[in-house]
Symmetry: C2
Subunit: 386 residues, 2 copies
Amino acid sequence: MKFKHFTTGIAALLLLSNAIQLQAQEISAMQAPKVVSPEIAADNSVTFRVLSEKANEVTLNGSWMGFGKTVPLTKGEQGVWSVTIDPLTSSMYHYNLFIDGVAAIDPTNPQALRDGTRYASMLMVEGEGSKVFQLNETPHGNISQVWYESPSLGLDRRMYVYTPPGYESGKDSYPVLYLLHGAGGDEDAWTSLGRANLILDNLIASGKSKAMIVVMTNGNAWQTSSLRNAPGIGNITRENFAQYQGKFEKSLVEDVVPYVEKNYRVKAEKNSRALAGLSMGGGHTITASITYPGTFGYIGVFSSGIFDANADMAELEKKFTALKTSGVSKYWVACGKEDFVMESNKRLLSILDKTGFEHEYFENEGGHTWANWRTYLSMFSPMLFQ
Amino acid sequence: MKFKHFTTGIAALLLLSNAIQLQAQEISAMQAPKVVSPEIAADNSVTFRVLSEKANEVTLNGSWMGFGKTVPLTKGEQGVWSVTIDPLTSSMYHYNLFIDGVAAIDPTNPQALRDGTRYASMLMVEGEGSKVFQLNETPHGNISQVWYESPSLGLDRRMYVYTPPGYESGKDSYPVLYLLHGAGGDEDAWTSLGRANLILDNLIASGKSKAMIVVMTNGNAWQTSSLRNAPGIGNITRENFAQYQGKFEKSLVEDVVPYVEKNYRVKAEKNSRALAGLSMGGGHTITASITYPGTFGYIGVFSSGIFDANADMAELEKKFTALKTSGVSKYWVACGKEDFVMESNKRLLSILDKTGFEHEYFENEGGHTWANWRTYLSMFSPMLFQ
């Protein structure tokens, strides 16, 4: 079948020999990189390299270091800068190289992550700590980028919907987790950085989590999607931010939940609806759940709490009591010991205690990081719908 | 409703005041950039800026320049480098800044594009030339990242499926366009760089294209998805590349088409199936269509052709004659005048002429570029299923 060979195989070689004329995408897969970066050694130490004859200074910031900290790379032979860092525990990290102070992604690392309005290179150190969010050889659920009408906001908006393995080919109805991102994120954050789809794939495959649909909305009420702000909306300032307070929560419960329950095979009742969010999304979770008691049977608040130190605690207690009375199967709170929201988190715990609201609290090392939020989702999703 | 206010609004302000402790995603949306880049003037000239006190050299490569060409930026006050380029015609472009030779995305531009294994910053110069692939205020179709079983390749694989506006809420059956990427791309390319979903949104909204499903596969038979190569497969070399020849085409027709026709509401007949691809994907299109005559009623070959100058033309003519006899409603070929595949393209045209295979040929300016592929899709999709 000679004719079957000429198109694909020869195409690639032709493209290679004509590299000089090609767009980057046509050649990048075929080019041998001049440097290898990142290189993970057997002991999980990692070497980062970048080629620049001309740079004066190259530094590295990684998510394992914390914000604003850097380590220098040293210039070696042929203009290859490098640094080897101490072994990392297995997890997913991200990093930037700073070339004379300019944040760059690692040009030889093909895997980058979108972090809101910024990009960083991805570093996966595989091992026990990464298993739950790696792409393993399990069945995979699908992610759909779904446009829906939001009458509350007067916008067509986009959300991501994870459907578990078997959803498309089956007839079962599923419970739904509504999963909310933090400030600076959008509907892409929980899959790009949070790897929520892979966490669910792995936990469903191992039998630890029930199969469920996960709905990841855009919590910025002024945006249609990560692609665009609403027409007429420019940059968001402290002043125009105020006009959007409370609006996302309304759109979530009054627009998103009905859309999902109309268009997907779901169990449309309280004990088959969970709501969780991180940071600003934890705030959204608190507000939506107390504003609409009886809607969500499972509630998760990650790295968040009652942000306003001057909040009317008596009124809040009344609302939390009403939510408790409506019947909540699980109220789960998680926060890192070093998280700057700890005071807000404590205010939430205090209200839960005062109102006798049965809840579970998990506190771990670390701060306001995706490493923690992946952990929290991995712990929270097995508690749901059981 | 005071309690509705404390969580979202205050959350953002709190996050702002605690910026030093935050992950990038939590603050990037709130930070005022020190420089604005890119800045598009009223005449569509564009200024690029980047801040670096320490760099020795900063240059710019844009997709409007061609591969390997650069223009220098000049260092001005406070370490802000800048260059203003001549007005661009309205279109979508991408570019990199080279900081002392290291390819970077523009750190102040929140929109980046994945270009196979590389990333570039996106530049949208809005106007007549960009209307067809902008995000306009039309109904939007959804994109699903769909995992399917490929018995032909022995892999679970991922593809992107565009469903037109109204698909999810309706009951109609739709025709399907199978749309293939080039070498170095993957299942993400036609939406990220090709903006196929937005092209279809716009052409369906204006009534120029029929509503259709668009299936965007991964044409690299050694990959499960853009996320991972098949287990046991490392880097692809000329040697191991050979073993995959013809296998993608088999998986497309024997695995993907049946999956789509089982799991979506589609019209499962030849005149409701179209196949098109660019470059390597054009080669896949040629091979799949002559190997499986009677499967696809519409065929589009973009920037491609018969790559092997020594191909057995007599055997090819026999195969094209069989395809012609099976009945093809439209065979459409497009290539840029400066495209390096022009000789391959001419070999295809020669076979079509020799076999009396009715076809249309479109030749335009430019070469092997996404600007051309977006144009070709914009021209081809209105011809389909009419």
